[in-house]
Homo-oligomer: 190 residues x 4
Amino acid sequence: MSQVQVDKWNMILDAAYELFGANGFYETKMSDIAERAGIAKGTLYLYFSSKEQLFTAMTKRDFEQFLERLTDGLQQSESLKDRLSVVASHHLGYFYERRDYTKLFFMMPNNDPEMLQEIQSFIMQYIRILATMLEGDGFREAKLLAKSFVGILDMMKMDILFDPSFQEEDVSQRVVFATDLFMNGCMHQK
Amino acid sequence: MSQVQVDKWNMILDAAYELFGANGFYETKMSDIAERAGIAKGTLYLYFSSKEQLFTAMTKRDFEQFLERLTDGLQQSESLKDRLSVVASHHLGYFYERRDYTKLFFMMPNNDPEMLQEIQSFIMQYIRILATMLEGDGFREAKLLAKSFVGILDMMKMDILFDPSFQEEDVSQRVVFATDLFMNGCMHQK
Amino acid sequence: MSQVQVDKWNMILDAAYELFGANGFYETKMSDIAERAGIAKGTLYLYFSSKEQLFTAMTKRDFEQFLERLTDGLQQSESLKDRLSVVASHHLGYFYERRDYTKLFFMMPNNDPEMLQEIQSFIMQYIRILATMLEGDGFREAKLLAKSFVGILDMMKMDILFDPSFQEEDVSQRVVFATDLFMNGCMHQK
Amino acid sequence: MSQVQVDKWNMILDAAYELFGANGFYETKMSDIAERAGIAKGTLYLYFSSKEQLFTAMTKRDFEQFLERLTDGLQQSESLKDRLSVVASHHLGYFYERRDYTKLFFMMPNNDPEMLQEIQSFIMQYIRILATMLEGDGFREAKLLAKSFVGILDMMKMDILFDPSFQEEDVSQRVVFATDLFMNGCMHQK
DNA sequence: AATGAATGAGAATTCATTCAT
DNA sequence: TATGAATGAATTCTCATTCAT
């Protein structure tokens, strides 16, 4: 792919992100995406073979970015507590930034095995990063602990996405809360 | 509604539950539901005004049952730990029983405000029950704690729904794990 | 099927006949057929599962009528020559009546096995009727003779369909010509 | 056109022949033809202005070859019977060689006047060759006789194309059969 | 002359919903 | 109250053709 093509590829994914995110998979038309990306309908199909595949590609790009940034963020912190804060901050920040794209997290194409595969792979990688971190600090049942922490964070997305009075500063409070709760809970797990 | 009508109403909801659960909202046809319920397509519309409304009604019935049983279960236990175990057991058991209806938890109609309203209302009630419980035991930030506990439990549904090797006895282990982790974490919150 | 439904079924086939006949399979839209039949597009699909199936059904009805009328016509004649005249007359008359539906005989859906099956079955039946007739009169190689006669007649359809100056009285001349030629040719085949 | 261009022109026609023949006009894509011919899609349009025109050109080349070879074959034979055998042999041999390209004879673009014109012109020339031959031998109604002979032969293509058990030696039998039948039939026409 | 990326018109089919019986 | 035949809006994807390079 030439640079021009890579750019176009990304423009399509950007357009798809906004429309799928705002309206959901089934409520978004391919023609809308094409229009928003500034290209013809047919061109979409030069880059993605179907609507499902476009959605999956879009999600994959987002997942990869999420994990990349997480890994970057973790490099700068040393203590477990700091690292957990980074994770929490990154997780909640992610949803805060995307609070206008709620549909992304509740609607996805139904029977697409590639999409399911992508989601499962993402969760596995995410959990593995955390679990490795916890194991390094001597915790038993690191994987279950990792899932629990992610669970705590993920439940908080509900407020972020649906509570209109939720402010940016509330994010930091939640970060502290989740990290403390989890750290305390963990201590007995060693 | 006469008893006959109530029965028919429930039969439709049963049929809808199985089909929506197995195939998702968009992949389920009203005609399939009618057939499974043993009635004519048109009759569906005597009981529910639209596909969305049928889905919402079905979900609502399920939510209500969930909360009802939870409340019943909590009546028999005294200590906080016992009660948390009941909650965890109920939450994870619910998903274990429904592990063949995965689509229910990932596919729902997109732009239906009544459905969103129903979900939010359910979560609120669920959280309130837990929060009240925790407040009664003297915890600060009871609502956030409640959400965290639910978050931990809800993340575990991923394994239950998607890990084919997940057994019934694994459920109890998770119950213990989640309760312990949370209890320990909470202790410092008083 | 109720009488109303049978009538509607036939009306659709009539509409399909005219449009497919005038414009060909690929150039005819389902919506046009629906409009001509005075029903909604969706209704078409209550009677026929696809465009191909509609075309095949239409052809089948026509084939059956062709053979039925042929059999009827043959009942009234005794001598071989009379019978051959009836066949020729029926064959050429058929095309003369349909000279505005040329597309029917040159365009058909491509890869539809059911359609091919239908055509082959029709030819086989047509040939068998003639062959049986010839065998009854003591001819050897009756099947090949039958095919030859049909071949002679069928080549004449070209003039009927494409020569604008072809008149109804020309049909009778051709009938006489084809029958004589064939009879004379046959005589040595006994 | 330079020699290189003529070669390319023929290569395109070869590719078109195989694909149209195997799959039919509507089921063959221009891009497939380009790929098979080893050139780019756009290049096709430097040689042929449209898909229809490409099909027509391909058919025309085939028709011309057919008539050329027929004329060549007729030069070597003297008696009427020999000549008719040559015609029959050529006609049936043509279809036998092309028995894998059935679609060519049943699928063609529908509404292209140039194509229709080409077919009619071919038939006219074919018939004229035969008719001239028959007139030279003193037959009346030579044109109708010619058409009849072609009709007999053309009906036999059905078996050649669709009967999988049809062998090369069956071709010769048919040649003899058709020629005899026709000769006998003709005798009374003088 | 050759390329192939881009275009966009075009049509079959599905299915929620209605309403006459 | 129950039926199911009829409706028609709505959308994906294909592919012949163009044109900037």
